[in-house]
């Protein structure tokens, strides 16, 4: 398996083993609150779920992204267009029954090569995007009836500008409502179909997206006694030294 533009300094990507041989060595992980983590064995491994999803939704482009770190928490990368179909299937299939969306979060990847360095394609099918950045939205699904989880779904916007759009999951998982609003607020992902897409943390007049990596906070530094590193640079700028 080759990933030429993997970041060599990134610890999590130094392990080049395939996920299945890796996860098999680990002791079985017990997840939070008595939930069983998804195992490498069928039927609940992301790889097995991927096979089932491909059977049920042959037109959907879904790839397995392995996490080579000790957590071995592999995830499924779903195209935004297929996201609602995939989630509806995961929720409504009786022996899957992923009935609880625990967490939605976002990641800003202005440099797409770094995203692919952390999430190693497991089957070599995924291609590295070479131009532009994107925003990634990550979903953690649990099945409360079967007590398994989390199943990690990821999806990526086309770019970080006008096409930063992801279909909303509020119609499928009501718990997505506030979390999607938070991601809209802090990352600027537009969730199409969201019933009430407003800012939730910052005020309505605010125009920036503070969790984006290129966000620049207002420069209103006030002196503090022991500045260091980046704060020292601010201190030097705002309080010039006496000559």
């Amino acid at each position: 398996m080759s990933a030429p533009d993997r970041n060599p300094t990134d610890q999590i990507s130094t392990d080049r083993e395939s996920p299945d041989s890796h996860a098999g060595e680990l002791p079985s992980q017990s997840g939070e609150a008595g939930f069983t983590a998804l195992q490498s064995e069928a039927p609940d491994s992301p790889a097995a779920l991927l096979a089932r999803l491909r059977d049920a939704l042959p037109q959907a482009a879904i790839t397995l992204r392995s996490n080579p770190g000790p957590a071995a928490q592999h995830s499924l990368l779903v195209e935004p267009a297929d996201l609602t179909d995939v989630c509806r299937l995961l929720r409504d299939t009786p022996d899957l029954a992923f009935d609880f969306l625990s967490n939605v979060t976002g990641v800003d990847w202005p440099d797409p090569a770094k995203a692919d360095a952390v999430a190693v394609p497991a089957d070599g099918e995924a291609t590295t995007r070479t131009a532009g950045g994107f925003l990634e939205v990550i979903y953690h699904l649990y099945s409360t009836s079967r007590r398994v989880g989390p199943l990690v779904l990821r999806t990526r916007t086309a770019d970080r500008g006008d096409h930063a759009k992801i279909p909303s999951l509020v119609a499928i998982y009501r718990s997505a409502e506030f979390q999607e609003r938070e991601i809209f607020d802090l990352f600027g992902v537009e969730f199409t179909g969201h019933p009430d897409l407003r800012r939730i943390l910052m005020w309505d007049e605010f125009v920036d997206h503070p969790m984006r990596k290129d966000y620049v906070a207002p420069d209103d530094y006030q002196y503090e006694p022991t500045p260091h590193d980046a704060v020292l640079q601010k201190a030097k700028r705002h309080y010039p030294a006496q000559q």
Partner: protein, 211 residues
């Protein structure tokens, strides 16, 4: 004008209490502070603990927390003031009746504290309203809040009601309301009320002897 303190002591031993209206009014005000019942972060938990039986703020006459600013004369800013909350805090202050006092409780209310470099945190409530007592700590223990309360009582007891150095609320030209900041596209507008917030100019020493 003022009575000889020794004579006052002598009279007191005979059961005669001599005082001035200023002292009497200040004694009444300092002995019955009614704080505004609101908290912003973890400091509020310590504030609540200070009112409960173990620390018993009632001993100092400040146990009646009022849920309405119209009935309160002490604002304890207990916790991080976010930029989204700052206009509401200033508006609550403006709605309080004079005389009114402000305690900035904890590092966040004083300066922004550990969140000072955050994009969403106001670097001290003293940028918008006048603060009488600042209590450092993160969070300050209930004893520290009681110490701050006693300090405020001492300040009130020393307040002048007439003359050149009279208190703000006794000055007919003094203001009871301060401008409420507006939400801007990137930050609050203005970021501070320069009429009341004038931090000292800090001059760093030359390189090598880092200030």
């Amino acid at each position: 004008m003022a009575i000889d303190p020794k004579l006052a002591e002598d009279l007191k031993s005979q059961g005669v209490h001599v005082t001035s209206f200023e002292q009497l009014i200040n004694w009444g005000r300092s002995s019955s502070l009614w704080p505004l019942q609101f908290g912003l972060a973890c400091c509020a938990i310590e504030m609540i603990a200070a009112t409960m039986a173990r620390y018993d703020m009632a001993r100092f006459g400040a146990e009646v927390f009022r849920p309405s600013p119209r009935q309160a004369d002490l604002m304890i800013v207990a916790g991080t003031v976010t930029k989204k909350m700052a206009p509401q805090v200033v508006r609550l202050y403006n709605q309080m009746a004079e005389p009114k006092y402000v305690i900035a409780m904890g590092a966040c209310a004083i300066s922004g504290g550990p969140f000072k470099d955050g994009y969403n945190v106001l670097k001290g409530i003293d940028r918008f309203i006048p603060v009488d007592v600042a209590i450092p700590g993160c969070p300050p223990r209930p004893e520290a809040l009681l110490e701050g309360l006693i300090t405020l009582r001492e300040l009130i007891a020393k307040e002048k009601l007439m003359g050149k150095h009279r208190a703000r609320h006794a000055d007919p030209d003094g203001t009871a309301a301060f401008p409420v900041p507006e939400f801007g596209e990137h930050d609050l507008i203005p970021t501070a009320n320069r009429e009341i917030w004038n931090p000292p100019t800090v001059v760093r020493q030359a390189e090598g002897g880092e200030a």
